[in-house]
């Protein structure tokens, strides 16, 4: 049955109902056949078929692929600037390199939560942005000129955070840093290796997406096995699991909770050295960016021009998901806004603010925490997604 026929059917039957009995009808304003005169609901509300294909197509074409491409182009530019810095280590090249690294990292925040499919396969997040950096290991690599960045054990010595360390080495003035690179071929080579490794990884992901896109929007794995859409392995389940995991563990916990000391035993002693971008002090802007991009992604907005399209918020509305008599999508969006308000009150690097302005960071953390049940409990159960990384039967 196609929708047109159904629409015909509902108009036809609606006419009949209106003629026969004026008071009964569909009382839900969100329904296609909402009857403004109806006073009593007849359980005959007809809703637009939630078009998962359009949702997934919108997410893939207007957010995921453009954001991956944008990050990739930043990484390419970063590589160019690494090359010119190595060739000619001077102040202006260093400044350019730092700026480009900063931009690449901000772009990374837009794609960090897309860790499913090709990204998950190569552990893109772990390879790209693991922190804190193991500086001892990193320095050993350079001193001994012996490293293999493909080893999982090297993940905490490479990636964008290794550049944070190398380009903002503690105790080095800019001039000293330039001397360091001038006199240290190993360090130059390592810098290059890290930048190339970043390039190689994102290249793999974008290349895979050329073919993965079809599987993603057509929910390939699910149509292969059964009809239980949104079950494990389905695209909706993948994006939501990746989103929740990233938010809970890598944003709330990694970016704020751990350095704040929330997870640090009884003393809850601050651990400022655990922040992202510890050496450059760019942690706050990256936190802001990651919250903004998460919000953009949930609302299905276009990556490039912010045009609102079909997103998870529309899907939540479609199933009438509520949280304390409000629409769940509104509650979630408001929580994002509350978090942004808090984050915007942070005026310096997190590593310093955690000590000097602890109450503000604690407040921020509490708002970040508040979002966890909204997305992990309310959103997932409204969308019929199981948050479990294990396969099992239910009953």
């Amino acid at each position: 049955m196609n929708t047109r026929f159904l629409k015909f059917l509902y108009i036809f039957s609606a006419l009949l109902i209106i003629q026969s009995c004026k008071k009964s009808g569909c009382t839900d304003p969100n329904a296609l056949n909402y009857d403004i005169d109806a006073q009593k609901d007849d359980n005959g509300c007809l809703y637009e078929d939630y078009d998962k294909l359009s949702l997934l197509t919108n997410l893939a074409d207007n957010y995921i692929i453009p954001s991956l491409d944008a990050y990739k182009s930043k990484i390419i530019t970063l590589n160019i600037h690494v090359d010119s810095f190595i060739e000619n280590p001077n102040i202006s090249n260093l400044t350019l390199l730092r700026t480009n690294w900063e931009e690449a990292l901000l772009n990374w925040q837009d794609i960090g939560f897309l860790d499913f499919g090709p990204s998950e396969y190569i552990l893109l997040r772990k390879q790209t942005n693991t922190f804190p950096i193991d500086t001892t290991e990193l320095n050993n690599f350079i001193t001994l000129a012996d490293w293999n960045l493909d080893y999982a054990s090297s993940y905490d010595s490479k990636g964008l955070q290794a550049l944070d360390y190398l380009l903002f080495k503690p105790g080095h003035l800019e001039s000293e840093l330039i001397t360091y690179f001038q006199n240290n071929t190993n360090a130059k080579n390592y810098l290059k290796a890290v930048a190339e490794d970043l390039n190689q990884n994102i290249n793999y992901v974008t290349n895979q997406w050329v073919t993965y896109r079809e599987d993603f929007i057509n929910d390939f794995e699910v149509t292969q096995s059964n009809f239980s859409t949104n079950s494990q392995g389905s695209s909706i389940s993948n994006i939501i699991n990746a989103l929740c995991l990233h938010y809970e563990f890598y944003v709330r916990r990694g970016k704020v909770g751990l350095p704040l000391g929330v997870f640090n035993g009884f003393s809850q002693l601050e651990l400022p050295e655990l922040v992202e971008c510890y050496y450059s002090g760019k942690s706050t802007q990256n936190l802001v960016r990651s919250i903004n991009s998460l919000r953009k992604y949930v609302t299905g907005s276009s990556y490039l021009n912010n045009d609102n399209g079909l997103g998870l918020d529309d899907y939540m509305d479609f199933v009438n998901a509520e949280q304390s008599t409000q629409q769940l999508s509104t509650v979630i969006d408001n929580q994002f806004l509350t978090i942004l308000d808090e984050v915007n009150n942070i005026n310096g690097p997190l590593s310093e603010e955690i000590i000097n302005n602890k109450s503000q960071i604690t407040q921020t953390y509490q708002e970040l925490q508040q979002l966890v049940p909204y997305i992990k409990v309310d959103m997932t159960s409204a969308l019929g997604v199981l948050i479990t990384y294990q396969d099992n039967d239910g009953d």
Partner: protein, 463 residues
């Protein structure tokens, strides 16, 4: 009175054909073989019994624990072997006993994995021990291990039928609640994600469909047993059951349960139907059991009185368990007190999120527990919505930290004392109506005793 007595005799002592029981034995064995095989091949032996470090045991069964690697696999292989023996009816009694013990033991290890159909299989295998499903068309008869019988006493089939009937009946009764009937919950939520179901998927977009499904399935569950025992409605009701179970199998990830029910309900068909099945199988020479001596129909076979009392006790318990929830105050779906072992299938949509804290003795400092350090994602998910598991986990945490010294990152040493205080912040969403606080977050859970008493620390559900 004589009428009732006659009727009871008819249902228990009457001699009836053994065919349905024989087919039941074979079908049950085959199904169990494949579902066990599926379980092993999906890697669940490893995921559910080797990966977890903590197991949520049942109250009173805390002594049950999984065997060390690789013996869990050995156990599952043994289970497969017993299935084959049951199919062919060789050393039947020993193998049904073994099957029952192994299967039940595995299910008792961790209530995270509780499923109504596992419970059903445990019960059925217990009943199978008591009845001579191997007295015809079996290797036991072929080798002369037991005597061949063409008829058995009626109770030997009727206990299986009764057990199946109880499952359906209570599954139906449990659907007679406000959410299921008047809100079409949880189907109204689930069906909306199913609009690409073949042929009728588009109909799932109507709320009406969810109501229709809810009401039809409640009526189906309540009456199917009565329709199946009446020969006039048997074929049509079996057909309805078949369609019903196949649909649930396609729509929901409920594993082999629908197939177990489809196969089990075959037992309601008459002797001729089963005779044909047996002849069909023997035509291919799989089992030929004509040579052995036939036991004379002994109408006066004495039923062991121990057995009689056991069965009366068994079915009384079966009647009590699904209704025990009435002894608890509060909303059943929220507190889940008396929820398990009651044939409540696909009744609730519930999700939760929990944060546990361990407190420093005599101070107001507390430490957040990382559930991931102790539980698998599946265990964490199940624990977060089920109060008895919340309590167990809290006790486990208290025990883990008992008498230990923790060294803080600033070098401070904290002594945990004899019975560390545990509290938990838990939010739960029921039927997608928004997450809300689940338990009293001030309550020291380590001080609360486990048991069947009312858990007054669960917060009231406010509509």
């Amino acid at each position: 009175m004589t009428g009732i007595n006659k009727w009871i005799t008819h249902l228990t002592k009457n001699q009836v054909s053994i065919y349905p029981l024989v087919v039941f034995r074979i079908v049950f064995g085959i199904l169990m073989f494949f579902s066990t095989l599926r379980f092993i091949l999906k890697g669940w032996v490893h995921d559910l019994y080797e990966v977890p470090t903590y197991f949520f045991t049942y109250y009173g069964f805390d002594w049950v624990s999984p065997l060390p690697n690789p013996f869990m696999y050995v156990l599952f292989l043994l289970l497969l072997i017993t299935c084959i023996f049951i199919i062919f009816g060789l050393f039947y009694r020993a193998n049904t006993v073994l099957f029952f013990i192994i299967f039940t033991y595995i299910e008792l290890i961790d209530k995270t994995n509780y499923l109504n159909h596992y419970y059903f299989i445990s019960l059925i295998s217990l009943l199978l021990i008591l009845i001579p499903a191997n007295s015809y068309f079996s290797l036991d008869v072929y080798f002369g291990i037991c005597k061949r019988k063409k008829t058995i006493q009626a109770w030997q089939i009727n206990i299986i039928k009764l057990q199946i009937g109880l499952v359906y009946f209570f599954a139906g009764i449990s659907k007679l609640n406000y959410h299921w009937l008047l809100e079409a919950q949880p189907l109204i939520n689930w069906l909306k994600h199913q609009s690409d179901f073949p042929v009728i998927g588009k109909l799932f977009l109507y709320d009406f469909t969810a109501y229709l499904f809810s009401w039809v399935s409640a009526i189906f569950d309540i009456f199917i047993f009565f329709l199946l025992i009446d020969k006039r409605s048997r074929w049509i009701s079996y057909f309805v059951a078949f369609v019903f179970h196949i649909m649930t199998a396609i729509m929901f990830p409920i594993g082999v349960f629908p197939y177990v029910m489809i196969a089990s309900t075959l037992i309601f068909f008459n002797d001729n139907f089963h005779k044909k099945i047996i002849y069909f199988i023997s035509k291919y020479g799989l089992l030929n059991s004509s040579k052995s001596i036939e036991e004379k129909n002994n109408y006066q076979t004495k039923t062991n009185s121990v057995l009689k009392f056991f069965l009366i006790g068994f079915f009384t318990l079966q009647l009590f368990l699904p209704l025990r929830f009435m002894l608890y105050p509060g909303k059943l779906f929220w507190t889940e007190q008396g929820y398990r072992f009651s044939w409540r299938v696909m009744l609730i949509e519930k999700a939760g999120y929990s944060q546990f804290y361990i407190h420093e003795p005599k101070m107001d400092r507390k430490m957040l527990i990382q559930n991931r350090d102790y539980l698998t994602p599946q265990q964490e998910k199940m624990m977060s919505t089920q109060p008895d598991m919340i309590l167990q986990y809290a006790h486990f945490l208290s025990k883990t930290f008992k008498d230990s010294c923790l060294v803080e990152s600033n070098g401070e040493i904290i002594k945990m004392g004899r019975n560390p205080k545990i509290t938990a912040d838990i939010t739960v969403s029921l039927f997608n109506k928004g997450s809300r606080k689940f338990i009293d977050s001030e309550k020291n859970l380590s001080e609360i005793k486990r048991g069947f008493g009312n858990k007054e620390w669960i917060l009231d559900y406010e509509d």
